[in-house]
């Protein structure tokens, strides 16, 4: 990925977006992280991209969906059969 190994050239946006996950996962080596953060500080487009990505990930963590009623029904029945003799209510 690194084209110029000698000097740390500045990142461009196209490279930045491909490093976002490594950055969020704290897997960038110190030098790469510094380049990433230097670009972040001066590019509104990339700052917005990263911020959106963080917000999106946080929102994914708050997804809940009531279980399908048909499934719920079938499962509750199966569970009752299973534990019927043992516990009464479930």
């Amino acid at each position: 990925m690194r084209l110029f190994s000698r000097k740390a050239s500045p990142l461009v946006c196209r490279q930045f977006v491909e490093l976002v996950t490594d950055y969020l996962e704290e897997r960038l080596p110190a030098r790469e992280r510094a380049r990433f953060e230097a670009h972040l500080a001066e590019c509104d487009g990339c700052a917005g991209y990263l911020e959106d990505m963080r917000a999106m990930i946080a929102t994914m963590g708050s997804i809940t969906a009531p279980a399908d009623p048909h499934t719920r029904e079938a499962l509750m029945r199966a569970v009752r059969d299973l534990r019927g003799g043992e516990h009464g209510d479930v």
């Binding site: 917005g48 917000a55 990930i57 809940t64 499934t71 499962l75 516990h87 209510d89 479930v90």
Partner: protein, 202 residues
């Protein structure tokens, strides 16, 4: 004691409402993961149901050494895998799908590698944002539309909240592959969210 620990304690005591609360929390992501391993809706249904029954029968033996969700998804993945061997649909994580090229559409950038125009923001901004519920349902649709491997990893990491280590172990993939799939899955999810409407399918 966490809210979930309380639910588990109630489940052990045979409390039906506790079981229903766990269903609401985990049934959809269980299905999403199962769907990546299994060919037919029937197989998905069966494996998910088996998993829940295994939870009810096994809950007394669950010692809380790992988190409940780790235990739960491990049961699912193991069952889905042995089932998918029989049904000849085993997604192998050894070969990454769609692993060529950048995760973000290169047309978004000019020849100098900069954004052609600043990327449109997702509307999380309090002034303009979509209602959270609406956003969540769009997100669910976007995750559903991911390729199998990416859907599994994004679901386990970002929706369920397992750690990278847990996901690697569960799927038997390397840390690097896990991260590549997560990266591609997230970038694609974001792209689908931003898409005007129907077209963006695979």
């Amino acid at each position: 004691m966490s809210e979930e620990d309380v639910l588990l304690q109630r489940l052990r005591a045979g409390d039906q409402a506790a079981f229903e609360a766990l269903l609401d929390r985990y049934d959809a992501p269980l299905r999403r993961v199962a769907r990546s391993f299994l060919r037919t809706p029937t197989a998905v249904e069966e494996v998910v149901q088996e998993t829940w029954l295994a939870v009810v029968t096994g809950i007394d033996g669950f010692e809380g050494r790992s988190m409940f969700r780790t235990w739960l998804f491990r049961i699912l993945v193991n069952r889905a895998r042995s089932r998918s061997v029989r049904d000849a649909r085993l997604i192998t994580f050894s070969a990454l799908e769609g692993d060529e090229g950048p995760a973000v559409d290169p047309n978004a950038f000019g020849e100098d590698g900069r954004w052609r125009s600043a990327p449109a923001r997702l509307e999380f901004d309090p002034e303009t944002r979509l209602l959270q519920d609406e956003l969540r349902s769009e997100l669910v649709g976007a995750i559903e539309s991911l390729p199998d491997q990416q859907r599994v990893v994004v679901t386990l990491r970002d929706v369920v909240g397992l750690s990278a280590e847990e996901v690697c172990e569960m799927l038997d993939i390397t840390e690097v592959n896990q991260r590549v799939l997560l990266h591609r899955g997230r970038a694609r999810t974001r792209a689908v969210l931003r898409a005007p409407l129907p077209e963006v399918r695979r």
